[in-house]
Symmetry: D2
C-alpha cells in the first residue's frame, strides 16, 4: 500500500511521480516503519525530527520515551517497571516488558492501517531486542537504522542536554548495537542530524 490507504486519494503517490496501478505491489516494497536504534544521547530524536522534515509527509514519530511517559507512576523507578541506577544504567522488569510488547503490537497495527512510523528505540538487549521488535513488525517493510556515537562524545552531549542521569550515554553506546543488523548506519559524532537524515532517507522506498 502506498501511504494512506484510502483509494483515490494517493496522498503520497502524487509526489512520487510514477505510481503504477499495482498500488498493492508497490506496498510490498515501500518502507512502512523506520526503526532508529541507538544509545541515550546518540541523537536519535533529532534525526527522527529531521527525517520528518525531509521525507514526504506524513511520517509520525513514536519512541520508547513516549511509552515510558505513558506508564503509571508505580512502574517508574520500580523493579518491575523501568529504573535508572546511580550510574545511568537502565533496568527493565517484567511488567514493562509486557506493556512494551502490547505497545509494539499497537505500533505494528498503526503501520498496517497506513501510518508511516519512525520508531525511536534503545535496544538494551542488542540482538535479542531486535528479534523481539522484528517479530512484532512481521509482515511490514522495516528499515533498520543504527545511530552510532562514540561513548565519550555521547557522554559529553549528555552533560550538555542536562536532563539525563549521568552515565546513561556511556553505558549504552556500544551495548545497544551488539549483534544488531542494519540496513544503514549513521554516526552522529561525524555528521549533523540533518545530514544523517538525508542519508537514511535515501534508503526509504
Amino acid at each position: 500500500m502506498a501511504g494512506w490507504s484510502q483509494p483515490g486519494h494517493g496522498l503520497l503517490r502524487g509526489e512520487r511521480g510514477a505510481v503504477t496501478v499495482a498500488g498493492l505491489e508497490e506496498a510490498n516494497t515501500s518502507t512502512q516503519v523506520i526503526v532508529l536504534n541507538g544509545g541515550s544521547s546518540s541523537g536519535k530524536t533529532g534525526i527522527a525530527r529531521c527525517l520528518q522534515a525531509v521525507l514526504p509527509p506524513p511520517w509520525i514519530r513514536l519512541g520508547v520515551d513516549d511509552l515510558v511517559d505513558a506508564l503509571p507512576p508505580s512502574l517508574d523507578g520500580s523493579e518491575s517497571g523501568v529504573a535508572v541506577g546511580r550510574h545511568g544504567e537502565v533496568t527493565v522488569g517484567d511488567d514493562f516488558r509486557r506493556i512494551e510488547a502490547a505497545w509494539m503490537s499497537g505500533i505494528a497495527a498503526m503501520a498496517t492501517a497506513g501510518a508511516r512510523i519512525i520508531v525511536d528505540d534503545v535496544f538494551l538487549g542488542g540482538a535479542a531486542s531486535q528479534e523481539r521488535t522484528r517479530a512484532h513488525l512481521a509482515g511490514l517493510t522495516v528499515l533498520w537504522v543504527g545511530v552510532r556515537c562514540a561513548p565519550e562524545i555521547a557522554a559529553g552531549r549528555e552533560v550538555a542536554r542536562g536532563d539525563r542521569v549521568s552515565g546513561m550515554a556511556a553505558s549504552q553506546a556500544a551495548r545497544v548495537h551488539e549483534g544488531v543488523v542494519y540496513d544503514v548506519e549513521v554516526d552522529t559524532a561525524h555528521a549533523e542530524s540533518l545530514d544523517c537524515a538525508r542519508v537514511i532517507a535515501a534508503y526509504v522506498t
Copy 2:
C-alpha cells in the same frame, strides 16, 4: 480477561497457555479502555494521572496530545493537519484524520494485546467523534467518561496554565459533549481530579 494486575495470573493471554472458560467470561466484563472526553483545560490529563495512581497497575495513558506531538512539522499548523486559530478554535484536516484513524487502530491493538489504556481525547465532532472512536474500539470493553467543566472556569484555568491559545477552553467546553453518551460523568468545576478519578475507578470492572 484478567489483564495485567491480578497477582498470580499470567499477564498476557498468549503467555498463559491455558485460559479457562471462567477467564474468558471475566475478559468480557473487564474494562480494557477508559476514554476520557472533555474540552481543553477541563482537567482530563490530571484525572488520567490520578486514575493511574488509584487503579491497580498498569494502566497506560495516551492522548490526542501525544498524537499531535508525533506529527511531522508540515501537519502542525496546516490546513490538512491540525491548526489552532487566533481565538483558540481547532480545525483538523484530512491528513490528520487519516493518521488519527491509524493511531486509533493501534490503540485498539494495544488493548487487544493486553494493555489497559486510558485515552485522553477531545471529541471536536461530538457524537460523530464518539462513533468513530467506538468503531475503532469494537470488541473491546470501553468505559466512556465525560469530563465536564463550565466554560468560564475552564477559560480561567487556561490562563493559569499559560500554555494554550486563549479561547480554546471556552470554544470546546460544551461542543465536545454534544450527543455523546457516557457511562459516567465528572465535573472538575466542583470536584478535585483525584476525587473524580475515584468516582470513575468505581466503574472500572
Copy 3:
C-alpha cells in the same frame, strides 16, 4: 515612581488616567514586588500567571523554581545545594542559601530599576524565611500574599500534575505559613486561580 523609571516615559502612567506631577511620591505607595508564598502544589504559579493577565503590564514572574533550574548539577540533589528526600521533604544547604541571597539581591535590584516582579516562593523556614526576604527587599513596596491549600487537597493535585516527588505538597502545606504575616491570603481549595488573582490584584496599589 509609577512603573519603569525612565523620566519622561511614563510607561504605565498613561494607562492609569490621573497621574500627579508628584510621580515620586506615588512611587512610595505603588506595589513593586508581590511575594506569593505557599507550599508545593498550592497553586502559586497559576495565580502568578493570572496576575500577569489581570494586572496592567508589565509584571514579570520569577520564582524559586527558576533559581533551582539555574543551579549547577553539583548543587542539585546535594547536601550543600537542594535535595528532595524520599517522602518529598526538601532540604537546602549553605551553598544554596548563599546563592539564594545573591539572587534575592538581584530581584531587589530589578525592582529598584523599575521592573514589577511577582516572586513565587516557598518559605521553608516560615517566619525566618520571610525576615530574610524582607531584608533583601528593604526599601521596596512589597505585597505579601499567602497562598493556602489544605494539605490533602494539595497532595491530590500533586498526584494530578505528576511531576513532583510524592509527599512534598503535604509536608509543606502548613509549615511554610508558620509565623508569616500577610497583606492578603487566598485559599486555592475554595477558589479558582483567576479569582484568587483578582482578589490579590485589588491590593496592588
Copy 4:
C-alpha cells in the same frame, strides 16, 4: 578568589568584614560573569551547562530565554514586547527593552553580591547590544565569549530540535556577532559543547 566554592574562604565579600588587599586584587582578576553570545541554535545553552559541569561550582545560568519566559502574555508576540515573525525574525519593542534593562541591573547585582553567573544571550543588535550589556555590568569582571556556528549548520540543528520557528537560526547566525569584541570564541560546527566549554573555562580566572 572571592567566589563561592573554595573551602576556607568567606563567601560574600560583604559578609567577611575585613577584606585584605590581596583579596581585593584577587577580586579584580576573578571572572564574575561569563557572557555567551550567539544566534539561536548555535549551542549556547549546551555550552553553558557544560561550563557548570567543568567549572568549580557554583556558577548559575541565566539567559534571555528565562526573561522571555517571565514576561506577561501581553508582551509575548506583541509589538511592544517580543515577537517572532513567519521566517523566524525576532523583533523587540520598547517595553521589552525596558524590562531587559531592569533584568540586566538585577544580574549585575547578583554578581556583585557574590554569585557567579553565566549569561546566555543573543545580541540582536550586535555591537550596540554589547555596549548596553557592558554598561549594565560596569565594575564587574566579565568574560565575553562568542559562540559561532555556520548558518546552514545552525539551521539544520533548528530542524533537529523542533521547538523553534524555522529561519531564526539562519537569520541570527552572523548578525549577532557584528562588531562584537570577544575574549574567546568557539565554533560549535567544529567542536562539541563540552570541548568548547573546556576552551572557555581556561579563560576563567
